[in-house]
Symmetry: C2
Subunit: 159 residues, 2 copies
Amino acid sequence: MAAIGFCAHDHTACVADLMAHARAHCEKEGLKFTPVRQRTLEILLREHRALGAYDLLAQLADEGLGSQPPVAYRALDFLVKAGLAHKIEALNAYIACAHSGTDHSPAFLICRGCKAVAEADTAMTSGRLGDAARAAGFQIEHTVVEARGLCPSCQEPAR
Amino acid sequence: MAAIGFCAHDHTACVADLMAHARAHCEKEGLKFTPVRQRTLEILLREHRALGAYDLLAQLADEGLGSQPPVAYRALDFLVKAGLAHKIEALNAYIACAHSGTDHSPAFLICRGCKAVAEADTAMTSGRLGDAARAAGFQIEHTVVEARGLCPSCQEPAR
DNA sequence: AGCAGGCATGTTATAACATATCAATTCCTT
DNA sequence: AAGGAATTGATATGTTATAACATGCCTGCT
C-alpha cells in the first residue's frame, strides 16, 4: 500500500519513531498523553491513511477504550491541537501527522484511486493564498490546502 | 455586512448581473437552468455568504420548491459542477461563485468573526501545492484552498 | 487527612450534513 | 406516439459532529 509520499517505507520503525516523538512533544509541552490519546495516535499511524472518526471509534471500542462518539472526537481534537494529527476537510477524515509535533501548515495530496494521502509542507503566508490574504488585509490563522487527483501508481490503469 | 472581498458593493446589481451570466452560461453549455436551480443560485447570491445545505433548503421550502434534503443537494451539485457555486469544505457550506461560470480554482478567505467569505482565484498548478504535486508525480484534478482567520474589520475589536 | 479546582472521561441524546432508492413527471428525440 | 434521458418528489437511512450533564481522578492547598 502506497501511502505517505506514495512510496514504501519501514512502517514499524516509522510508527515507533513518531510515537516516541509524540511522547517527547507532550512531555515538553505539559500535555497529557493519556492511554486513549496514545492509542488513537497509534491507530492512525498504523493505518497510515485518513480514517473517519467512526472508523477510529470502532477500533478503540474493540480495545475497550470507549465506544461513544465524543471519545473519538476528543482524542482527535487533542491530537490535532497538539499538531500530531490533521483533519482532511475534503474527506471528513483524520490522519497522523507525517512530520514532527511542531507547528506547521500542511498541504495534502489525496488520491481518489487508492485513497492514499501524502502530506507536503507549505509556509502559511507564502504562495498564492498568502498573496491574496495580504492584498485583502486578511489575517490567516489556519490554512486548508488539499488537492484531489491521482497518484503516480493510480495514473497507470487509466492509460 | 462586509462579504465578498470584505467590502461593500451594489448588491442588487451584482445579483442581477451574476444571474444573467449564469443564464447565459447554461444556455451556452446546454445545461438546464430549472426553477429550483435558479432559485438556489439566487438565494446563495442574495445571502452572499456561505450557506449550509439545510439553511438553503429551509428557504427553498418557504417558497414551495421542495423541502427534502435531496432537493437542495441536487441543486447545489448542479451549481457546483457548472462552476456557478463552490463548496467550502472547512464549513460544509456552499457559496455562489463570485466570478463567472468559467472553470477555475478558487481559494477562500474565511473570517471567523463575521463569517464572511472572500473568493480569490488561483491557478491550480501554480504555487506550493502545484510544486509538491509535480515533485510527487501527482496529477491534480481539484483543489481545496481555504484560509481561516480574521478579516480587516474583525481584527479591530481584538486590539 | 480532607477538600477544592481543573482536566479527562463516561454516557445519553441529538444536531447537522449527506446519500440511496424508487416512483412520477417532464421534455426531448426518433 | 413511443422511447429514453434528465429532473423532480418522496421516504428512508447513513454518516459526521456536538451538546449537555455526570463521574472519576489527579494535584495542590490548608
